[in-house]
Symmetry: C2
Subunit: 458 residues, 2 copies
């Protein structure tokens, strides 16, 4: 019986080997679109678990759930990799209003930035100073800033085609705004949400105090784009109006958490690793469906799609669900540290952390030789309208794995809608389209298949 099984297996493997790459990609895409599991997993992560802030109960549930699901698909190994993570909690919902000289108030939508301290008990009220940049802040100096709330209001640049570029051009306000404003005696910071759309959602995200001592730190919040425009208009009429906000967030001690890892061990080169991953933690306002539930379930399905398509990898394929990308990158740092300790040879590391939208291609951090090999595969992706193969940023979680040989890559989905949802309460399951998500998983699985088959070029 066992012998017969082996014969069948060999015949099947031979059959797969006899297929062209084009035929195998076709099978992978078909499997994802007709028998994918990414959407079902995402439904659970988003609707049954929800936002998965590092150190939260939901993050624990997500670790447990994804570990169990990876076990169900029959990988060779599934394990948890311990890592200590920061634990920041939002506390009671934030509250804010604009107050005119007459005492009339207008409520506005804000949320604390991740890592911020709370306001004093009862809230904080002060005059507001609007600036467009940290440079402008510095040029104004202490005499204009002391005792005020600084309002950073530089919008994302709408005419940039790739929205991540527009994000990159603005996010310094959110990340470093409070740290810089503290130097000039500001008492608080409000930052325009990193959102290209006009709406009422405030968008959270990480910020830093640098080496400013705890006693000198000031609270920092994001305001929705609609309310940023409102505040700016009201300030244009009256520079003396006051802004009130109250938030009770705090940073607690680090807690134990885990990266979730699954592996198909390679049949010929088990010590060459191909990694595919996303981050399991998310911000807390929404359900982290696009950021990065999508990347998590796509990465999980890459291994399942290879199995379902009858592909038996020559190299070891790992899915890594990184913990704490949003506010610490501790999971990625730990994974890279252990991989280095063990001398694991990662040849290709692919991350999906740009939303579950229609895939357009990948950006790569690699040698020219490897890039040329990748470009030789480009034509295979044409039937799937995958056209973007460029050098560029790969991803935060695979970044620490950079070596002279490891090819790092990031999936590049269509980016137009990403910042409508990013770090906001509307990053929910209904914002993800099933087919777009599945096409992303298939695109990732196809590139993993090619790297497994051909290995590195250099």
């Amino acid at each position: 019986m066992k012998y017969l099984f082996l014969v069948f297996t060999c015949l099947f493997v031979s059959f797969v080997s006899a297929q062209t790459d084009a035929e195998i990609l076709k099978t992978i895409y078909k499997t994802s679109l007709t028998n994918g599991n990414s959407y079902k997993w995402l439904e659970h992560l988003s609707n049954q678990i929800g936002g998965r802030l590092s150190g939260s109960l939901n993050a624990e549930k997500a670790i447990e759930y994804t570990k169990e699901e990876l076990q169900k698909i029959g990988l060779d190994k599934v394990w948890l990799q311990p890592v200590m993570v920061p634990k920041w909690v939002r506390g009671a919902p934030e509250f804010a209003f604009i107050e005119t000289a007459s005492g009339a108030t207008t409520k506005v939508n804000i949320c604390a930035l991740g890592g911020s301290i709370g306001t004093p008990f009862g809230g904080l009220k002060a005059q507001v100073l609007e600036v467009k940049s940290i440079d402008e802040l510095e040029s104004l100096g202490k005499e204009n800033i002391e005792g005020k709330i600084v309002f950073f209001n530089r919008p994302m640049q709408a005419d940039l085609i790739q929205t991540f570029e527009a994000y990159g051009g603005c996010v310094d306000q959110r990340y470093a705004g409070a740290m810089e404003a503290t130097k000039f005696g500001a008492v608080g910071v409000i930052v325009r949400s990193m959102n290209l759309r006009q709406d009422d959602f405030p968008h959270t995200g990480s910020m830093t105090y640098g080496d400013i001592p705890v006693s000198k730190r000031i609270p920092s919040a994001a305001i929705s784009t609609n309310d940023a425009n409102l505040l700016s208009s009201m300030l244009a009429l009256n520079k003396n109006l006051k802004f009130f906000f109250s938030q009770s967030c705090q940073q607690l001690n680090d807690v134990q958490s885990y990266n979730v890892i699954g592996e198909i061990t390679g049949s010929q080169f088990p010590n060459e690793y191909i990694l595919v991953g996303g981050h399991l933690d998310s911000w807390d306002l929404g359900d982290g469906a696009h950021d990065d539930g999508a990347g998590v379930v796509q990465s999980m399905d890459v291994l399942r799609l290879l199995k379902e398509s009858g592909i038996k990898p020559k190299r070891s394929i790992r899915v890594v669900l990184f913990m704490n990308e949003e506010n610490g990158l501790r999971g990625a740092t730990k994974y890279a540290e252990i991989a280095k300790q063990k001398g694991e040879n990662h040849i290709f590391s692919l991350e999906s952390d740009s939303g579950g939208f229609t895939p357009r291609g990948f950006s790569f951090d690699c040698s020219d030789t490897d890039m040329n090999q990748i470009l030789s595969w480009k034509e295979l992706f044409k039937p799937y309208l995958i056209h973007y193969f460029e050098k560029g940023h790969s991803g935060a979680d695979v970044g620490p794995l950079k070596t002279d040989t490891n090819v790092l890559a990031g999936l590049r989905p269509d980016s137009q809608r990403y910042f409508d949802y990013h770090h906001a309460a509307n990053d929910t399951f209904d914002a993800v389209n099933k087919r777009e998500l599945e096409l992303g998983a298939a695109t990732m699985a196809s590139l993993v298949y090619l790297f497994d088959k051909y290995g590195l070029a250099n």
Copy 2:
């Protein structure tokens, strides 16, 4: 004063001429993304007017509104072109249920297909026969069909990457299902909605009775994908269950309507026409935001973007908002007829009627010589991630303009989400993303600019 104005104008025109094509495309995209008008127009068409079925009051309002808006942007000519259109009305909301032998009923979501007759007063109840195709219907013959409601339930093929291909492989059930089923004595037809998603929206669309006399026609409706699966499951358990539906739609006499046309007259070759258009009519269940409000407002903005970008066309650029694409194509037929009568030389005709999603490129119906010229422009579009330049179907409304020389083209946006909304109640303004819509308008304006500058290759 006038002289001074002329000097300035000439300087400005020279300035524009001195710019490279790459610079001009950059200006067009920037203008659309930072100062576009398409989204504002779409808001009005969708939310202030709504569904614009041919011959309806809303269609009249849309004609009036778009004519006024085209006049506001300062075109050289704006006019209405009379055309008689069919007038089909839905009447009272449809109602349907599945009834088991015990008399238990389950309500399901249906809508009448456009052009269908109503059910007899009080509704129609009969046994149901599920088939997957017209071929299967024919193989079953009269003995199995007579007196029954035929349920066409072939789903759209999920593994096709271009969803319009999946639509093309299914739509015969909707268009010809009733006509074919009548031949075998069926009393009604229910068709699975043309939707790749599982949801509760029935999707309407056109159907034909061919030359079947009025007295022999049978009513035809679409059922939501969720309810199609429900009905199919219940039929698998019990072939004898009954289906009830009631609809009071009817076909009235033709009424007067109009194509809306605006023109910038060419400075050097006024008798060479470049046309850009979409269709102003829509189905009635939603607001026709994607189909084809998006194409309408993008086409309008193409002319405005050219003006705003300081481009003075050499050839005459026309925007045509066609009436009655959905159930008759009368507007397009009339426009082509008049153009032929007047001997107007259309060199390039571009249609946008595939939704307001991120543009990926165009498909062209043209000579190889013209295609080669178009491909020589492809690199100019790379910064905007526009990569799809292929021969293929152009569009229903520009189709009648086909000659040996006219280049026909259709904008090809990302198609993954299109059939989630197509002809259904959820085709509303909130389903359209502002940036995606604006990128489409800029992509169209860019190609129009190039055709205006270089003319035909052949």
